[in-house]
Amino acid sequence: MITVNHLSKAFGDHLVLDDLSEHIEKGEKVVIIGPSGSGKSTFLRCMNLLEKPTAGQIIFDGQDITSKDADINKIRMQMGMVFQHFNLFPHLSITRNMTLAPVKLGVLSKDEAEEKAKKLLDRVGLLEKADSYPDQLSGGQKQRIAIVRSLMMNPKMMLFDEPTSALDPEMVGEVLEVMKELASDGMTMAVVTHEMGFAREVANRVLFVDGGKVLESGTPDQVFGNPQNERTKEFLSKVL
């Protein structure tokens, strides 16, 4: 689904991603873990070019998205992204939050979009919030809305950037539940998270990133049960 070749990203003199290569299969659920400042979020944000890579190539669905001719807006329509701080649009109702992009971009008509929004809201148990505004919702509710807002565009892949890190502990579960459901529906997912339980349960593969490199990659059992790299061991001993 997405192939990253020799990706580097520098902010000024600071090299955040260092010649990183990785491939994610269609339907694969990859969880990216690592200490803060390791470059894992930057890696994720490079995949939909929210950060422009300094060097390297990213092939998404057979298309080189780092090439000059790539239509970045078209590509992003097929790649959903969920942020740590939700980033719902506070001036729009929940329904408008969800229907804005698909209607503006001509993916769905207004009626189709509203119909679809209803279905998705029902699926995450928030149908009664359709006419509310983001500030009226709890953190967990906001993040569930943010997820279905991305799904409105029918993305081929979903990127999650620490989706539960800004939540109160009791709300983490409801968001992970939605993500698990999405995973079992076969969505291709790349998830940066500190939720090791989620990684164990859902991931096909876990990547340990530090210093801008993938230091370890394997099934959750391999990475959590029998880590090879010293730094992986050290990190896991702190978080597990």
Binding site: N73, K74, N87, L100, Y133, M153
Partner: protein
């Protein structure tokens, strides 16, 4: 008391002198309204250019688009610097006697001057509003596939306007009152209307106070209207 009544009659009734006030009021409102609209338009365009330039981050490649943006950004900065650095009265006189000397219509000269002047201030107000919107909003819009301009129009600017509204109202009030200098180019706006009566009847008290009260009432009206607008815009905040 009879004295005051006589003055009132000679100030406003005789020769229909009240028409100086009403006619002046019309001109003041016309100049303010047109300058407001044009000024906001200029201000919005400048703010977007300045923000697009400042928020584009580090540039890796020297593309034509980047060079163009640098150029427009420099022009916008120069414009704001010059306009904010010189008195509006001087600008008005320069426009009337030098730049637009062939223009017959004083209203046009006044509207253009005040649009250009107001645009500089409004651009900084909008820029502050746009910069104050969380950068996650732009990222969320872009991640959904919306273009920069679409995200600006649908997501950033509505939020920026909301936070910029109090300052914008301030600017509108300042603009309304600043138009009183148009008398310098012989445009018969409200202040000059009152002053003409003073010059004719040699009574300063009534005409000047009347003019002052009319300005005050207009400002009160503007404050009341936008107070309502602000309350309506706040309906999405339920903290």
């Amino acid at each position: 008391m009879t004295n005051l009544k006589e003055k009132f009659i000679s100030d406003f009734i005789v020769d229909e002198r009240w028409r100086y006030v009403t006619g002046g009021l019309k001109v003041t409102l016309l100049v303010t309204l047109l300058a407001l609209i044009l000024g906001c338009l200029i201000g919005m365009i400048i703010a977007i250019v300045r923000c697009a330039h400042d928020q584009r981050g580090e540039i890796e490649k020297k593309t034509f688009g980047n060079a163009l943006l640098d150029f427009f950004n420099a022009i916008c900065k120069l414009y704001v610097t010059i306009i904010r650095g010189t008195p509006v009265l001087v600008q008005l006189l320069i426009m009337y006697f030098i730049i637009l000397v062939s223009f017959k219509s004083k209203v046009t000269v006044a509207v253009l001057t005040f649009s250009i002047n107001s645009g500089a201030y409004v651009s900084e107000i909008f820029r502050g509003g746009i910069m104050a919107v969380d950068k996650g909003q732009m990222e969320a819009g872009r991640s959904l596939g919306l273009s920069y301009i679409q995200t600006m129009i649908e997501i950033i600017i509505p939020q920026a306007l909301k936070s910029a509204l109090p300052s914008l109202v301030n600017e509108l009030i300042a603009l309304l009152k600043e138009t009183s200098i148009c008398g310098y180019i012989g445009l018969n706006e409200l202040t000059r209307g009152g002053d003409i009566i003073r010059g004719t009847t040699f009574d300063a008290l009534l005409p000047l106070f009347l003019v002052a009260i009319i300005y005050l009432l207009m400002v009160l009206g503007i404050t009341a209207i936008f107070g309502r607008v602000e309350r309506r815009l706040r309906q999405s905040d339920h903290r």
